[in-house]
């Protein structure tokens, strides 16, 4: 009897095993409890399970790394996937999840896109993909012949992008180039919350790793943090420090990764933002700023496209 059960187990083992086998498209995160499923019930995939939906209704501070055991671990925030702003309290909400869903639906209709843009509001303003807006003139001028999908979402942080990548963002796509610009919003309130420079740079590195795992043949162009806010402000200091930390990671030792630094193109020699490049007083890039950005991107994107 026992023997028979053992035999059955041995026979079934190969059937069970593949489910647990390491999935090449998944990456390891530094916060082990997250990888072990002690935070989120559904670490990847789309659509969301009911258990995951229930989980997402918990307040954000309980869903952050450390929240599961009552600890405050801000150094883990930027490197552990977490969805963007979620509120299920009113009808108009789940805005962020709605955008994520719309971007994916739109991508399914345009799975032949060559270029994919990932990032925050600086990326979204190339032309909001979630609203199916056309890309702005500055982009069209340089890249009109390459079908481009814009996955930028306003207010995005590294942890939000990691979550999107794990929950279907690039599924079914085979881009030649992915342009990534993220991390700016992790810098906000860095001092007050205890989020560290190193963890933000590591969060950006994990985004690249994740993209490389999901679409292994695609080139990645990392655009380092763009200058924002006043010259001597804590935010600008944070941006400078994160960019320096990125340099230290030598991300371009991966032959498919290129890094673009726009600091000197968007600031004057004294460090002040170039007025002409910004729409209004340190808020965000204006048309001329995007012209500069696109022109600077062009050689890197061409290199990536020709290299394939």
């Amino acid at each position: 009897m026992n023997k028979r059960l053992t035999l059955l187990a041995v026979l079934l083992l190969p059937l069970v095993q593949p489910v647990y086998a390491a999935d090449k498209s998944s990456i390891e995160y530094p916060y082990a409890p997250y990888n072990e499923g002690k935070l989120e019930p559904q670490l990847k995939g789309w659509p969301l399970s009911d258990a995951e939906k229930v989980y997402l209704k918990k307040p954000a501070n309980q869903r952050r790394p450390g929240g599961e055991c009552g600890k405050n671990l801000p150094e883990m925030w930027s490197v552990t996937p977490m969805p963007g702003y979620i509120s299920w309290s009113s009808q108009s909400d789940t805005v962020w999840l709605g955008k994520h869903a719309r971007l994916m639906a739109n991508a399914q209709e345009n799975s032949d896109a060559e270029i994919i843009l990932l990032g925050d509001a600086f990326t979204q303003r190339w032309g909001d993909g979630a609203d199916k807006k056309p890309l702005i003139t500055a982009w069209q001028k340089q890249f009109a012949q390459h079908k481009t999908l814009n996955f930028g979402i306003t207010a995005e942080r590294t942890e939000n992008l990691l979550w999107r990548l794990d929950h279907g963002a690039l599924d079914g796509l085979s881009p030649k180039v992915v342009v990534l610009n993220i991390g700016m919003n992790n810098v906000a309130r860095m001092e007050k919350t205890g989020v560290t420079v190193a963890s933000i740079a590591q969060g950006i590195q994990l985004c690249i790793e994740n993209i490389r795992a999901k679409v292994p043949t695609a080139h990645v162009v990392l655009v380092k943090l763009l200058p924002a806010a006043k010259h001597s402000s804590p935010v600008r200091e944070g941006i400078t420090k994160v960019n320096a930390a990125l340099d230290g990671l030598h991300l371009d030792k991966d032959p498919l990764v290129q890094v673009l630094d726009l600091m000197s193109d968007l600031t004057n020699q004294d460090g002040a933002l170039r007025d002409k490049a910004y729409a209004y007083d340190q808020m965000y890039l204006g048309d001329y700023g995007y012209e500069i950005y696109a022109a600077k991107l062009r050689p890197l994107i061409e290199k990536a496209l020709n290299g394939n």
């Binding site: 702003y85 995005e156 924002a228 808020m283």
Partner: protein, 306 residues
């Protein structure tokens, strides 16, 4: 010659009318001058100050707001730049709700406490949500949120924030009994988002805020005033309005402080930090109120010093 003479008579006549009108209305004039003359001349609201309202004024303010805008009294079109700087009663879907339930509630709150108000909160829904009110019998009872209680619980606070309010409705309320007889130690004013600031109209809204300050100052000469720059919504209009508040140099008044919350609520990429908003981008949640209260604290403490 003939022209000059008639000019003289005209000027004399204006002086005489102004003087007699002044004498008659002395007690019933707003404490400050508004730039839109027809309003000052009573060509719009029949009763430009005082509470309770006359039957005539009641009938007037219950008309749709669109028919009461500056310019409409002459049968013309709205003069947009006069809207934020000309007092106007608010109105909700239920015609009486703003007037009775909201303004009435606020008047009552001030009258019940006017002898000993430490902090008076003036504004729109963002201010209202410091202490949503519930009705207990005939009375409205405010319930202050933890962020407020934690830091300012020791102060006697009265909140006269009304959802949807604009610079013009604040002006109207101040002139119609909102703070009569009150001598608050500190007044916190946050207004302007419902005026819809854009890159084109931010200056007129700034002027509206300036008039609110002037009105508060005229009514409460001893009070400390804190002007909180319009928040939230990370748009160019709101940003410019904030900068314009600096340009107007309100702090020339030694008993006035300005609080700028831009960097606290706006991400470096120019988006709202929506972890701080209940509905993504407009009303603050607990975390948002925590930050707002924490930033307000040193200003209140400074204002409370004798």
């Amino acid at each position: 010659m003939k022209n000059k003479q008639s000019n003289f008579f005209l000027i004399a006549a204006i002086f005489l009318t102004a003087a007699s009108a002044g004498d008659l209305l002395a007690a019933d004039q707003p404490p400050i001058e508004y730039p839109y003359k027809p309003y000052m001349e009573g060509k719009m609201d029949p009763q430009i100050t005082g509470w309770p309202l006359s039957e005539e004024e009641k009938a007037y303010v219950l008309k749709p707001p669109g028919e009461r805008k500056p310019g409409m009294e002459a049968g013309g079109t709205t003069i947009a730049e006069m809207v934020p700087v000309t007092p106007a009663a608010g109105k909700w879907k239920d015609p009486n709700a703003w007037l009775n339930d909201e303004h009435g509630r606020c008047v009552q709150a001030v009258q019940d406490n006017k002898e000993n108000i430490d902090i008076l909160l003036v504004g729109d829904s963002i201010t209202y949500f410091w202490s949503p009110s519930y009705k207990s019998g005939e009375k409205w009872v405010p319930k202050f949120c933890d962020a407020w209680k934690k830091r300012f619980g020791q102060y006697h606070t009265v909140n006269i924030g009304i959802k949807g309010d604009t610079t013009q409705t604040i002006l109207w309320r101040l002139d119609h009994g909102a703070i009569d007889g009150a001598k608050p130690k500190v007044i916190v004013l946050l207004i302007g988002i419902n005026n819809g600031p854009t890159a084109e109209n931010f200056k007129t809204i700034g002027q509206g805020i300036k008039l609110c300050v002037a009105n508060l100052r005229a009514r409460c000469p001893e009070s400390q005033i804190i002007v909180v720059k319009t928040l939230p919504k990370a748009t160019e209009g709101v940003k410019r309005l904030g900068d314009y508040i600096d340009e107007m140099k309100l702090t020339n008044d030694p008993r006035l402080q300005v609080l700028d919350l831009w960097d606290d609520f706006v991400n470096p990429d120019g988006s709202e930090d929506n972890n701080l908003y209940i509905d993504g981008v407009l009303h603050l949640n607990d975390a948002g109120f925590e930050i707002y209260a924490e930033r307000l604290k040193p200003l209140i403490e400074k204002a409370m010093k004798p």
